[in-house]
Each structure stands twice: as structure tokens, then as C-alpha cells.
């Protein structure tokens, strides 16, 4: 079987060599032109920015929290961020004697929100809990995020993003209180 095929192949080969005398040359320029035209079209029309997801877990509002399971937050650990109109952002520490100050979303500014959060985080982590010895028993900052009726969605996402960037362990979106609206109204 293989022998027959071999001999046949040789015959064909011999014939082909004689038949092929001059090379065929195709001008490929138009094809390249077309290919590049299509290439540029698809390059320009594809959007590279794919949407991303920011996971958000909200506390269950329907469940009445069990007071025995709740961990009380120290006054020194709490920080509140308030969002208002015209991209303004305010913050204050603690709960008892709030002193509202304005921050900026611009990370390069001296009063940037990022700097404030980092400093507060460091300050909290420098204090050991009562009776605590290991680094795990250090204080951790707890951030409350509140938005007034003029705040933009963008600001909320920016603040949540700031939580991600600075690795804030505990944060929550809470409704603003009338007292807080009053506090920022004069600023």
C-alpha cells in the first residue's frame, strides 16, 4: 500500500517542478490597507473601560439588634463624615463634643479627607484596649458616613472608596440627624 503511494508521489513531484517556472506575485497593498482600516475602526470603537462593582453591605434595618451582641463604640474611636452640597465634606471626632471641620476630597490638599482618616486610624491603633496586650486588641476607628439632601451620589462613592483605600475596618452609612444639619448649616 505504502509503496504504491510513494511511487505516485514521485511522479507528481517530477511533473510539478517542470510546470512551476515563474513565481506568482500578488500585490498585497490593498489587502493590507483594508486590514488596517478595519483594525483602526475596531480600535476606536471598542471601549476599554468595563464597569466595575463596589460591594456594599448594609446593616439589616428590619432586625431589632440584640444589645448583648453589640460592641459599644468608644467616644475616642468614632469619626463622622458629613457630605453636603457643592462637593463639600465635613468631619468630626467623637460623639460627646463634636467640633466640625471641613475636609477636601483632593488628596493633595493639606486638609484632605484621606490624611484625616489615616491620622485618626493611626491614633486609634496606638491605644491598647483596656486589659489588652496583643496588637489585635488595639482600638479601631469606626466611621459613620452621613449625607444631607444636597449631597451627590459621586461624593458618597468617593467616601466609600476612601474607606477601601485606607482600609477602614468598620464603617456605616447612617441617616443624618437634624442636629448635624444645623451644625454644618453655618459653615
Amino acid at each position: 500500500m505504502s509503496e504504491v503511494q510513494d511511487s505516485g508521489g514521485e511522479k507528481k513531484k517530477g511533473k510539478k517542478i517542470r510546470a512551476k517556472k515563474h513565481s506568482t506575485h500578488i500585490d498585497m497593498t490593498p489587502m493590507v490597507d483594508l486590514a488596517f482600516l478595519l483594525l483602526t475602526f475596531f480600535l476606536f470603537t471598542t471601549t476599554l473601560s468595563k464597569p466595575k462593582a463596589m460591594p456594599l453591605i448594609m446593616p439589616d434595618v428590619n432586625e431589632v439588634p440584640d444589645p448583648s451582641k453589640q460592641t459599644p463604640v468608644d467616644d475616642e474611636d468614632a469619626m463622622t463624615i458629613i457630605l453636603s452640597k457643592n462637593n463639600r465634606v465635613f468631619y468630626y471626632f467623637g460623639i460627646k463634643e463634636p467640633k466640625v471641620e471641613q475636609a477636601s476630597f483632593d488628596a493633595t490638599k493639606p486638609n484632605s479627607l484621606r490624611k484625616v482618616i489615616i491620622e485618626k486610624k493611626k491614633e486609634c491603633e496606638s491605644r491598647l484596649k483596656v486589659g489588652g496586650k496583643t496588637p489585635n486588641e488595639r482600638h479601631k476607628v469606626v466611621i459613620l458616613i452621613k449625607a444631607d439632601k444636597d449631597a451627590k451620589y459621586k461624593n458618597m462613592v468617593d467616601v466609600l472608596d476612601e474607606m477601601n483605600i485606607n482600609d477602614v475596618p468598620v464603617y456605616a452609612i447612617v441617616d443624618i440627624t437634624p442636629k448635624e444639619i444645623e451644625m454644618i448649616s453655618g459653615l
Binding site: 497593498t29 464597569p51 462593582a53 460591594p55 448594609m58 434595618v61 449631597a151 451620589y153
Partner: protein, 200 residues
Amino acid sequence: MAKVKPHRKKPTLDMTPVVDLAFLLVTFFMLTAKFKPDEPLVVDSPKATYDTPVKTENLIEVQVGKEKQVFLAVDNKNTRYELINKISESKGLNLTEDEKKAYSVMSAVGVPFNQLKGFLAASPEDRKSIKQPGIPTDSLNNELKEWLIALRFMSNKYVYAIKGDQNADYTAVAQVITTLQSKELKLNKFNLITNLETKK
């Protein structure tokens, strides 16, 4: 002394590899390109540093536009058909088969129940020119909740996400969040859709 003969051969460049590469790229872009679905609501998502891609499979997207209008985008054509069937039944809209099919091919819809039949009965061209007012979300007339309850009854596999415009008021988004967290829905875990921003 031998004369230096000028090279007479035409300078030819073998363009085969160039063509190969060009066509490879063309094929790549053609196969990966996904034509943007015709979105009735233009949403400019805010930027954030999160880089988890959105899984579009079984995604239920509540879109919040610049003017606080709320649209509902349900992932799958079959899901949409099932959903409109349920809504038509529970709200007594008496939608025809064609109207239900019309809903199932639309990516996002933001029309209150009382306008839904008229909107779906219109031809696809007319529908584009109709300005959709958005789904009501206020506490007195929360139609978004009814849409979502219908979806919740259909299956548990859905992933919920909010796609808000960066210039939308937060209160509009907060209303959607309150709806998601209501005692009928109890959706406390969801995603916010953002665009990737390079870390500053």
C-alpha cells in the same frame, strides 16, 4: 577592475507577516467587541478604585439617572419575559403577547405601570422618541419595590446592583437602597457600579 553593477532588482518587501498580524488583530477586535446595547438612560458612573469586574449574568441593575429617574435593567431576555408576564398578571395590565415580547428585548425600562401598556404597544421607533419618566420609588407609590418583589419570587439567583449617575442626588440613590432593604425584599448586600480610576 570589475565594474560595480547597480542593483537592478525592484526592492520588494514581503508583506505577508504584516498582513497576518493585521488580520489577527482585526479578528481579535471583531470577536471581542460587544456592541453597546441601546440604553435609554445615559448613566455616567462615578470613578472608584475597586477593580472587581461586574458579572452580567443574572444581574438586576437599578439605574439612577441625573434627573433622579429610576430605570430597571434585567439581564436575561427569558427573565424579562417571565417578569413582564408576572407583572402583567399581578397588576392587571392585560398585555398582549407582542407587548410582552417587546419588553423582553429592551435592555432597560423606566415607565410607571399606568403608562406601560401604551409604551409597549408603540412601535420600536416611536418608543425611542418617548421620554421615559422613570419608575416611581417614593414611599407612597413604590413601583420599583413591586418589580423587585416579582423578581425575588421568581428566583434567588439574581445579583442586584445600583448604577447611579455621579451627578445624581444621593437622596435618589438612598431611596433605592431603602427599597432594596425593605422588609419584603431584605436585600442588604448589593453592588454599586463604578468605573475604574487609577490610584492617586
